[in-house]
């Protein structure tokens, strides 16, 4: 394999990893606050069609991204309401959201199937760095959303581990009763984190329909929402590790196209790679969790019921 090909695969891995990274960073916040949102797949789909339709209507790619964020946020608030305010089962509520998102997106998108997207977000090379060999084209000749996702992940890490807000989020997810006793509004923190997660998934969806594909078709996320969810566990709830994980997962997708063109292997069999890799990653995550004694936030999946708190 030549250096050029390596750079090309790396470039594709980062592109493919970007929607996963966005979804995972948002979900890390939701889960760190104690709420698991299995609805990512549905939110991404709604984000994808909202972004696509908005951009087509306004001619502004950025408006598409903003609309997708807002749509994702609105959808996630439904999950926040059922699971935070109504103490609902988070697994079932999340799955319901995934179904709702699938249905809504197919209904919203029925006029847009097969339409071309004339408005593009062009790659913006970072001056100087883009000319480096291999890493130049791979890292520094990407579209703005790739840089944005990276920046969001870095800021998310900083906020989570180095600021008061981050301490609040982690406290709410690990020991909501104590956080409450310290004067933290558990419900507000959880709502905010779930909403942020929804906005990020919406953005990820719009990236798929506006930049990565770019087109709209039913079920176009192809399981990336679930993979982003798995990535959260793989990254051990740490946004920095999620960056590495997302690009690694993206590489499995890139590898699939590379193997198909270079070796002529069957496309459906190669298409299994990202999903099989996800199962493998879950295994790695479990052994890592056992070895390093870090695990899921202690209150993950458990509704916080104020009247029943033990003082």
């Amino acid at each position: 394999m030549s250096w050029e090909a390596a750079g090309h695969i790396l470039h594709m891995a980062i592109r493919s990893g970007t929607p996963l990274l966005l979804g995972a960073v948002g979900e890390i916040y939701a889960q760190r606050s104690g709420v698991m949102n299995l609805g990512l797949e549905g939110i991404m789909l709604v984000g994808a069609i909202t972004g696509f339709a908005t951009t087509l209507a306004t001619g502004q790619v950025w408006l598409g991204f903003i609309a997708a964020c807002l749509a994702g946020l609105a959808l996630a608030l439904i999950h926040a309401f059922t699971s935070v305010s109504l103490y609902a089962n988070q697994v079932v509520s999340g799955l319901a959201l995934a179904m709702l998102g699938l249905g809504l997106s197919s209904l919203m998108g029925r006029a847009y199937v097969g339409q071309p997207m004339p408005y593009r977000l062009l790659p913006t090379p970072v001056p100087g760095l883009a000319d480096l060999p291999v890493v130049g084209p791979a890292f520094f000749d990407q579209d703005p959303i790739v840089y944005l996702a990276l920046a969001i992940a870095l800021v998310a890490w900083f906020v989570l581990y180095r600021t008061r807000w981050g301490i609040m989020v982690r406290a709410v997810g690990d020991d909501p009763a104590s956080a409450d006793a310290m004067g933290v509004d558990v419900y507000a923190v959880r709502y905010a984190c779930v909403a942020f997660g929804g906005a990020m998934s919406g953005l990820a969806g719009a990236y798929l329909s506006l930049v990565y594909t770019p087109a709209w078709f039913e079920g176009m996320t192809a399981g990336r929402g679930w993979i982003a969810f798995a990535l959260v566990i793989f990254a051990l709830w740490d946004p920095l590790k999620a960056i590495l994980g997302a690009y690694l997962f993206g590489a499995t997708e890139a590898l699939q196209y590379f193997l198909q063109t270079s070796l002529g292997l069957s496309a459906p069999l190669l298409g299994m790679i990202p999903y099989a890799a996800t199962i493998l990653a879950m295994l790695v995550a479990v052994s890592e969790t056992l070895r390093r004694r870090v695990g899921a936030p202690a209150a993950l999946g458990k509704p916080y019921i104020r009247e029943e708190r033990v003082l």
Binding site: A230, S287, E307
Partner: protein, 369 residues
């Protein structure tokens, strides 16, 4: 910042019987109402849609048969899911397990025993389908039982792998000779096709199996020690461990049975409906996901699943009709699915809590959260 009003939830001391029935019914009504809004927003007159679909579905023999056909795989999958969900084992992989049942049946009928008599071939197909479905659930089951790997993700990933496997077969080695280039297998021989109730297209062997499965799951849960263990483990895993139950065994059995039953549904779809292996989504059609709602709507009671499977079968049939009559994508039936499940899961709170709207006075507001 605090709103001047909010919801206060007070724990109920005992569950009220009428609410157990009222919550599912209200969920359905509310979901239909919300879906009307969604349809209206997309330029479809909900009254016209519901009216047309309702009259065609319940007013004609073919409509009713269509409803039953859609209910059969739902009931089979849901019966197994009830068992798994009772143990708090989240098998979301019924979709893939169903597809593997179809693959096993197609392989047996097309390549292994194409000349066997129906009385031998059909039972063998169901057996193979059960085993294939269970086998597809085996990896997530073992990972969950031995290493506590989250089964939601692994079963979902197995779904996608199953889609790709079927695609590989129909585009590759199993592609038929008489399909004019379409990605199908050949039609299975007549002796492998399931018998139908005369005058309808209902494949009755699968229907009987589905009803039997619901009954069997009820007996298993209510009359056997394994069922008792499942319920104790699902209610309180720590307690189950403390009294010496083996969670690994419970997880494995629940996953394998639910996978196997989904596999049976796949055999029915292949040998009773499509008669050939086709594009994966055409075969599985979201039954595995819709069965989650069937199970939840039945409040995880296997016998009640008969009723809820019929209802959700009607909804899926309605979805197919809407696609034909109103040019609405089939996946939009998921709008109903999602809304019903959301209302249902939100309604659970009413069973356990009294919900009151309260208005905070000024001084209370100042006291903070």
């Amino acid at each position: 910042m605090r709103l001047p009003f909010g919801l206060r939830l007070e724990r109920r001391l005992e569950e009220e019987g009428w609410l157990k029935l009222a919550v599912p019914i209200c969920s359905i009504v509310l979901a239909l109402a919300l879906a009307s809004g969604v349809f209206a927003a997309h330029g479809l007159n909900p009254a016209l849609v519901y009216g047309t679909v309702f009259s065609r579905l319940l007013g004609t023999h073919t409509g009713l048969a269509f409803l039953v056909i859609k209910s059969i795989p739902l009931l089979l999958c849901a019966a197994g899911l009830v068992l798994a969900f009772r143990a708090r084992v989240w098998n979301i992989g019924a979709e893939g397990q169903l597809l593997l049942g179809s693959v096993a049946a197609a392989g047996l009928a097309l390549f292994v025993l194409p000349d066997a008599p129906a009385c031998l071939l059909i039972p063998l197909m169901f057996l193979a389908g059960f085993l294939a479905g269970a086998a597809w659930a085996l990896l997530p089951a073992v990972l969950k039982a031995k290493l506590n790997v989250d089964e939601v993700i692994t079963t979902l990933m197995m779904n996608y792998i199953a889609y790709k496997l079927v695609e590989y077969l129909i585009y590759g080695p199993w592609r038929g000779k008489a399909t004019w280039g379409f990605p199908f297998t050949d039609i299975i021989p007549a002796n492998a096709q399931l018998p139908l109730i005369p005058g309808t297209s209902i494949h009755w062997p699968t229907l009987l199996l589905a009803l039997a499965a619901a009954g069997a799951m009820f007996v298993l849960l209510e009359r056997t020690s394994l069922g008792y263990e499942v319920k104790v483990y699902g209610g309180n895993p720590d307690l189950a461990r403390a009294v010496g139950m083996r969670p690994g065994k419970i997880i494995l059995i629940c996953m394998l049975i639910s996978g196997g039953l989904a596999g049976l549904a796949g055999v029915g779809e292949l040998a009773g409906v499509h008669k050939r292996l086709k594009y994966p989504w055409t075969i599985s059609g979201g039954y595995g996901f819709t069965a989650i709602i069937v199970a939840w709507l039945a409040r995880l009671n296997p016998l009640a699943c008969v009723l809820t499977a019929t209802f959700m079968g009607a909804l899926l049939a309605a979805g197919s009709m809407m696609r034909a009559s109103f040019n609405v994508p089939y996946a939009s039936v998921s709008v109903f699915n999602g809304l019903i499940l959301l209302c249902l899961v939100a309604g659970e709170v009413l069973l356990r809590y009294r919900v009151k709207l309260v208005f905070y006075r000024r001084e209370e507001e100042g006291a903070g959260p």
